[in-house]
Every structure is written in C-alpha cells, then in structure tokens.
C-alpha cells in the first residue's frame, strides 16, 4: 500500500480533461473516498468560468490551452511538494482543455486528510501554486466570437 503510493507519486499524472468538468465527476470522486475511513476532512476548490464583461463585451466561453508536457511536470512537482508540506491522505487535480462555457467548471482541486486544517491549507496552497506555475492559457471568447486573452489576478 505504502509502496504503491510511492510508485504512483513518481510518474506525472495527467490532469487535463477535454472540456468542462462535470458535477458528476466530482460526486464520483467524493464517493470513491468513502472507503478511506482514516479521512476526516475534504476540501474541494472549483474554478468556474465567469461571464465577465470586458469593454462592454460579454465572455461566453474560455478556450483553454497549455504547454501540456511542462504543465504536467510543474504540477507533478507541486504535488510532491504538497505531500511533503501537509499530512494528506490524497489529492486530485483536474484542469480543462478546450472550450468551457460560462457557468461551467474548469478546475477541480481535491484534498483529503484526517483533519480539516491540513486539508484546507493544502487545497489553498495547491490552487495558488497551480495558478502561478502551470503554463495554462485561456482565450476568452465573447458573444460576438471575437476574443481576448485571460490574465490571472
């Protein structure tokens, strides 16, 4: 079990999904943790595409792209660092590629631990690290099909 865990951590996992992340995927992921009875707390962060108004034009979707190989490498390192820093049972990270409509989900970060502090601190850390270090790009597509490029605050 422990060995299995260590081996799993060594190869970068895929985090990318085609299109929006469905609420059902999140429910399934939660349900899979019910056999792990050493978990006391989960924290889930979800990023949702906003229908932002920019210069009077409304965003209808974001089309995500990434430097996939580098992103997976960076996220792998973030994952390892997070396991070092926090006492977690498990963590899951998913990000959309391609088109995600306003109101749909593009990021799903899920941490689990025996206690709430670790789960919540780790989730926060992961979200900040992913936003800062993963080379992911968002083309904001307006209702009139023109576009601009998303800039994170």
């Amino acid at each position: 079990m422990q060995e299995d865990k260590i081996m799993k951590r060594k190869e970068p996992k895929n985090i990318f999904l085609d299109g929006a992340i469905s609420p059902e995927k999140i429910a399934n992921s939660i349900a899979h943790h019910q056999v792990k009875t050493n978990i006391g707390a989960h924290d889930i962060f979800l990023g949702q595409v906003r229908a932002d108004k920019i210069d009077g034009k409304e965003v209808k979707a974001i089309e995500y792209s990434a430097n996939i190989e580098l992103a997976l490498k960076e996220v792998h390192e973030i994952r390892e660092a997070t396991f070092e820093k926090f006492d977690l049972t498990c963590m899951h990270i998913y990000h959309s590629l391609g088109k995600v409509k306003a109101g749909e989900l593009c990021l799903f970060v899920f941490t689990s631990s025996a206690h709430r502090n670790e789960a919540m601190e780790a989730c926060r850390y992961l979200v900040e690290e992913i936003k800062a270090k993963a080379p992911i790009f968002g083309k904001e597509i307006f209702l009139d099909d023109t576009h601009t490029w998303k800039v994170n605050k």
Binding site: G47, Y64, A66, N67, E69, K131, A134, P135
Partner: protein, 76 residues
C-alpha cells in the same frame, strides 16, 4: 533547426503555434531574430522554457532544441 512553440496570445502575433528558426548560436540571438520577424513580440511579457525547463539566462543552443514562449499563465 530550432523549434519555437508559441502559447496563448503569442500565437495570435505569430499566426501559428509552432515555427522553426535557423539562427541558433544562442538563445538570445534566436529570440532576437524572432522579434525582428515579429516586432509585436517586443511589447509582450513571456517566460521562456528550453526543452521543458524554464530558463532565465542566455545559453548556447543545439540542433533540435525546443524553445517555448509562454505569456502569463491563466489557469483556473
């Protein structure tokens, strides 16, 4: 040949996601040649990765190197 991979907004400027450059004495010279071809790049902020490693300083290039030019990240 040096392979240049462009991301995000930079694909709008260059008009495609991948181009090749024959200038490869050094990373800086290669990027200078690229900016001469696409002057709008001068106004842009981006990070550079060489063969999948983020890089800040100038280095010598070799045949087949892959340079990624990445504007500010916007995940999430």
């Amino acid at each position: 040949m040096i392979h240049i991979h462009l991301y995000g907004e930079l694909t709008d400027i260059v008009g495609k996601e991948k181009i090749e450059m024959s200038t490869f004495q050094s990373l800086r010279k290669c990027l200078d040649a690229l900016k001469e071809e696409f002057p709008s790049l001068n106004a842009k902020v981006y990070r550079v990765a060489l063969n999948n490693e983020i890089i800040d300083e100038d280095v010598q290039l070799k045949q087949g190197d892959i340079i990624a030019l990445m504007p500010p990240f916007a995940g999430g």
